[in-house]
């Protein structure tokens, strides 16, 4: 593949050894063979429930945890084997925005110091004066105006929305090619969410930054992202353009997720598929297709052997080359593959 990707994750595995009496010698496979590609300037939403492995993927890309195996290519360079100064040098190219703007900033620091810090670490700017100007520009870009006034405050004096903007300013100041945003608006009041997402969208247009947008909220992913990948128990089960995924979900899990998206409309007898049970533990992944114990289609088809014994791979669906699905039976155009 000669195509240039901003981020290319190849067959990523993240496993944890469980400790404690309950899980002795058990291995939790939090990420169990995930491949994802992100083009420059593109936004890919990674959507899943808690325990699906989406945050482990983010942490592996950020090198906050060591992958068990697989490659993480950033602008063509594999991050996994990098250590020390080599990794530090690469770090300016990928940044993260965390969910909780109250915990991710140091309350004893002035805003301007927080935003200047990455510049100092990476030795960017000739002097404090220049770094200060860069930081003020980043604050203004994140929609914090007047930047000088906000910069002088302590982070604890800011509202949640303002703090998340400070986090965005700190993330963009090094002009990264990739920003990982882990539920960036889920802690904010609904009236403030649009403002934060708008700033992120503007940065995408102005700086060409690509986003790995991690969320549990499928409708937000649909609105903000170009593509959506749905993750279940450490595996991508479906991937398509945002509009296609919502309009034509194929995997039974995605179908159920789409059917329960709350819509502010009174719809009589709207057919919702509420799955019973919960996502199993990554230390006891079901055999065959990992979704089969909760799958409505599996029951509807009379519990086919194939779902019990074989692990479906994420494959191009017959419908579209850009629509991938990991299910033996959800692709009607392929016919019965048994």
């Amino acid at each position: 593949m000669s195509e240039k990707f901003s981020l290319s994750i190849e067959d990523l595995h993240v496993s944890y050894q469980l400790s404690g009496s309950a899980g002795k010698n058990k291995i939790a496979r939090a990420v169990d063979g995930v491949s994802l590609q992100l083009h420059p300037g593109e936004t890919l939403a990674l959507v899943g429930e808690s325990g699906s492995g989406k945050t482990s993927i983010a942490n592996a890309v950020m090198r906050l945890l060591e992958p068990t195996s697989g490659k993480i290519l950033l602008d063509g360079v594999d991050l996994v084997p990098l250590q020390g100064s080599e990794l530090r040098a690469m770090r300016r190219n990928f940044q993260m925005i965390f969910q909780d703007p109250f915990e991710s900033l140091d309350p004893r620091q002035r805003v301007i110091e927080t935003v200047m810090e990455p510049l100092e670490i990476h030795g960017i700017g000739e002097n404090q004066e220049q770094r200060r100007d860069l930081a003020l520009a980043a604050l203004a870009q994140a929609g914090l105006r007047p930047a000088a006034d906000i910069g002088d405050r302590f982070t604890h004096q800011l509202s949640g929305g303002q703090r998340q903007r400070v986090a965005i300013a700190s993330a963009i100041i090094l002009k990264p090619s990739l920003i990982i945003a882990d539920e960036p608006v889920s802690m904010l009041d609904v009236s403030l969410r649009a403002g934060i997402l708008r700033v992120m969208a503007d940065l995408r247009d102005q700086l060409g930054v690509s986003y790995l947008f991690i969320t549990h909220d499928l409708s937000l992913a649909w609105m903000f992202a170009d593509r959506i990948a749905v993750i279940y128990l450490g595996r991508i089960v479906e991937e398509a353009s945002a509009v296609d995924l919502i309009e034509n979900p194929m995997h039974p899990y995605t179908k159920a997720l789409v059917s329960v998206i709350p819509v502010p409309e009174a719809i009589e007898g709207a057919s919702r598929t509420i799955l019973s049970g919960e996502i199993p533990s990554p230390s006891s992944i079901p055999s065959g297709c990992r979704f089969h114990p909760r799958c409505p289609l599996f029951r509807e088809l009379g519990e086919p052997e194939k779902c019990l014994n074989e692990d479906p791979l994420l494959q191009i669906s017959a419908k579209s080359e850009s629509h991938l699905v990991a299910c033996f039976f959800s692709d009607p155009s392929k016919g019965d593959t048994q």
Binding site: E49, L197, R198, V260, P262, E265, A266, I267, R272, I274
Partner: protein
């Protein structure tokens, strides 16, 4: 007679200048068996309103004026003893963030049983045990798990335990304050479905608080939207989210703040500015300075909650002027 009738309720908190009203003249009615949703941004008074019903308000706050008639009894006139007789038995609350409120060293079965025996001494231990097992099954937990401890349950299952506890004394009204906020999407759908079916099965009345209007649209019979301590709009779900649509500019803006997958894909809108600081004097419509269709009178005159037909009412000068025009 309605099960709950709140009239002109004022609830105040003290501040340096004296006191301010977190709930400022609210009317709300809940019929028996009715599922009512209460929406609004954080700090708009939803929780204060809800907790004033069983009078579980924080210390120093007080009901300054108005009445709360529950089953024909004004709860604002009851003493502690009288209130104890209705809490849990008549009105129970599923508190926000209650997932972590379970006692970690007590089995969930005994935690559900406890209120039954405390609130009704005539219930024998055996009866309380039987009711506990029945409640567990009713909320979707296999009864053999009664002897398990909270840490053995997921967040969604713990919320089911909280619901079973709230139902343990067979109350007439259950108040659920953001019961699904910390849960996953599919678990949210499960819990809402459960609340709705319990409401229908036991003829319960339910007051569900959520900041998310779309959650209420799919679950409730009727919704009330609060803004800055007042009800901005209320009406049957079928009207507010259906045939007639939301009429108050605040409700409309709240709706535009969420993506709607049934419509064309477009960027969500925020609501500029912030809710007013209630500790300062409020004149006119409280939403006026964030409202893009405000009239000049909105800055000075407080709009009344006007019935626009079909049991839908709206507190907005623009809406009432258009109403007059139509009639």
């Amino acid at each position: 007679m309605s099960l709950l009738e709140i009239r002109d309720l004022h609830v105040s908190y003290p501040n340096r200048k004296g006191e301010f009203f977190a709930v400022d003249g609210v009317d709300l009615t809940i019929e028996q068996g009715e599922f009512v949703g209460l929406a609004g941004e954080s700090g708009c008074g939803k929780t204060t309103l809800a907790l004033s019903i069983p009078q579980l308000l924080p210390e120093h706050s007080r009901i300054a004026a108005g009445s709360i008639s529950f089953n024909g009894v004004d709860t604002t006139a009851l003493n502690e003893e009288g209130l104890r007789a209705i809490r849990w038995k008549e009105i129970s609350v599923i508190f926000q963030g209650a997932l972590n409120a379970l006692n970690p060293v007590q089995t969930i079965g005994s935690q559900i049983q406890e209120p039954i025996r405390i609130h009704d001494e005539s219930v024998s231990k055996k009866e309380a045990q039987d009711r506990t097992l029945e409640l567990l099954e009713a909320v979707g937990i296999p009864s053999h798990r009664a002897s398990d401890f909270p840490h053995q349950f997921s967040g969604g299952m713990r919320q089911r335990v909280m619901i079973a506890m709230a139902l343990s004394c067979m109350p007439k009204l259950v108040i659920a304050d953001e019961p699904i906020t910390a849960l996953d999407v599919m678990t949210q759908a499960q819990i809402l479905d459960l609340l709705r079916s319990l409401c229908d099965k036991y003829k319960l009345s339910m007051l569900l608080i959520s900041h998310d209007l779309s959650v209420l649209a799919q679950t409730c019979d009727r919704v009330a939207v609060m803004y800055a301590g007042k009800v901005a709009e209320q009406g049957p779900t079928s009207r507010v989210f259906g045939s007639v649509g939301a009429q108050h500019p605040y409700t409309q803006r709240l709706l535009r703040a969420y993506p709607n997958i049934r419509h064309e894909r477009k960027f969500i809108d925020g609501i500029p500015g912030y809710p007013p600081d209630l500790s300062t004097l409020q004149v006119g419509c409280r939403f006026a300075d964030r409202c893009d269709v405000a009239l000049s009178r909105c800055a000075t005159e407080v709009p009344d909650l006007i019935d626009i037909g079909g049991n839908q009412s709206v507190a907005c000068h623009l809406v009432s002027e258009n109403q007059v025009g139509v009639q």
